[in-house]
Amino acid sequence: MSGGAAQAVAATAQPRIGLGRRVRRDPELAIGVALLAVVAVVAIAPGLFAPQSPLAVNVDQALEGASAAHLFGTDDVGRDVFARVVHGARVTLSICAGALMLSALIGGSLGLVSGFIGGAVDMTLGRVVDVVLSFPPVVLGIMVTGILGPKTANLVFALATVYMPVFFRIARSGALAEAGQTYVEAARSVGLSEGTILYRHVLRNVLPLILVQYVILFPLVLQIEGALGFLGLGVQPPTPDWGAILQQSKDYILLAPWMSAFPGLAILWTALGLMLVGRSLQRRLDRR
């Protein structure tokens, strides 16, 4: 963490590195942040951009192409696709962010403990993780949501389960490496409890790994959430969710392609932003 602390000190000591220079130093990060900023603003205040209701049905105007009144056209029951995509940002992103948070919390803490204490606990948890990892992620998602039923809570649970093993492994290998460090031995020798060492020292060194992994996995979760929604296993209509909108548009794909094009572009846009930021963070972590 000393590197991060030093950076923080450096940043407060000389805060006037121009924005332009920062952008030039890491253009990928800048583009990624810009893409995500748009998504964040839209998700926080969708009403600001799309005053029309995402649920208002108007059959007279069904399946209309893009126009000034309906930027992204209308769907099969005349709802404004722009409003649905804009309002869908909050639904989709909060599900993904929440599921991934749950995944990081549970997977990360289990991995931390498992790597730090080792022994039988580590063996058992390792086996369980192997089992979960033996399913391809999408298949696991389909299995859990399909069997438990298409409810938002089940969707979050499914998405959290899919990437829990990844957080487990990252945290475990981080904790394993830290457990052998001299400072842990020193902390033990002055009589600190194992819990304190784990929480105050090991966790702080493993946390950056978990945070970077969070950003790296986010676009993947976004895609799986979209896929499950598309298969009808995710958020249920009429709630606007990017995957669910794509599911409802599927039957009109040749008749009204705009219904499918824009929610997919929204996923692409967000995933691209996350990937650019994630790559940049990973590079910084590797350099440390």
Binding site: R127, V128, D130, V131, S134, F135, P136, P137, V138, V139, I142, M143, V144, G146, I147, L148, G149, P219, Q223, G226, A227, F230, L231, L246, K250, I253, L254, P257, S260, A261, G264, I267, L268, A271, L272, M275, L276
Partner: protein, 314 residues
């Protein structure tokens, strides 16, 4: 080698068994089984009891599991509860579709992605590299089913062509079969080519920064020779591992893309068996998916040991 193989196989069997227990429990933990679906709104206790007995659902869970496991070990996956067909051939037929899609995608992705990655790595930092990297990032960010849908729209509006609606096996008509598989392969292949390009580029770049490559360049070995003799040789090994990863990703992607293009593969079988609560088909299909994923991983590890003597020693 033999000892390693035995150990790995044993571990795989244990994992597969645990996975099957999880699947079995999960499938049976939710309300609304096949009997409830068959009876619909009517509630006739006698009929319900008879049906449950018929499907073996009246037995305790662990006995159902052991009976199923015993049959699976002897090669019998049971009968479908809703189609009245044996599960084995049902899965076999679907698997053929998915495997054909998967392998053809792998070929396309490798043929497109590896050269792109090599070129990007050689021209690191130049315009060509940046263009390939942009393609690769877009490909990784795009949802596979959406790319499939957009290809369908693009092809039908630009070329006025759309694939046949009904699946044709290659044994019936090779042309029809390829026509219906073209777009699924293109959409899946595009995304996996993006992943390949990314990976190969990274391998080439890091190989060029190795000391022995620098030495070779410094002592005046022609760049072409350095590339073929040193760089290419060293990215071969990680590429094998990556190919395994790609194959598993293709398998997952195939499950989704099948439902876009109405292909009767494993993914569709999985989804319909979930909808109808057809437990024998669902359990069988999931088991097959897990076993394939494990076999790919095992195959990659073995291949790795064969081609890289360093791994064998450690």
């Amino acid at each position: 080698m033999a000892r390693y193989l035995t150990q790995r196989l044993a571990a795989s069997v244990v994992t597969a068994l645990l996975a099957s227990v999880i699947v079995f429990t999960l499938v049976r933990s939710v309300p609304g089984d096949v009997v409830a679906q068959m009876l619909g709104q009517t509630s006739d206790p006698t009929a319900e009891r008879a049906l449950r007995e018929f499907f073996g659902l009246d037995l305790p869970g662990w006995r159902q599991y052991l009976a199923w496991l015993g049959n699976v070990v002897s090669g019998n996956l049971g009968m479908s509860w809703t189609r009245g067909q044996p599960v084995g051939p049902l899965i076999g037929g679907a698997l053929l579709v998915t495997l054909q899609l998967g392998f053809m995608t792998l070929v396309v992705a490798t043929a497109v992605g590896v050269p792109l990655g090599l070129v990007a790595g050689i021209y690191e930092g130049r315009l060509l590299d940046k263009a390939i990297q942009s393609f690769s990032l877009l490909g990784l960010a795009a949802p596979v089913f959406w790319v499939g849908l957009m290809l369908l729209v693009g092809v039908s509006s630009l070329a006025g062509w759309s694939p046949p609606l009904l699946y044709a096996p290659p044994t019936a008509s090779v042309a029809d079969n390829l026509a219906i598989l073209a777009l699924p392969i293109a959409s899946l292949g595009l995304l996996q080519a993006a992943a390949y390009a990314q990976f190969v580029r990274q391998s080439v770049v890091s190989a060029f920064h190795q000391d022995y490559v620098r030495t070779a360049i410094a002592k005046g070995v022609p760049l072409r020779l350095v590339f073929f003799k040193h760089v290419l040789r060293n990215i071969g090994i990680p590429l094998v591992t990556f190919m395994g990863l790609i194959l598993i990703q293709i398998l997952g992607g195939a499950v989704i893309i099948e439902s876009v293009f109405a292909l009767p593969g494993l993914g569709r079988l999985l989804l319909t068996s979930i909808e109808t609560r057809d437990y024998p088909v669902l359990q069988g299909a999931l088991l097959v998916v897990v076993v394939i994923a494990m076999a790919v991983n095992l195959g990659v590890d073995l291949l790795y040991r064969v081609i890289d003597p360093r791994v064998r020693l450690s």
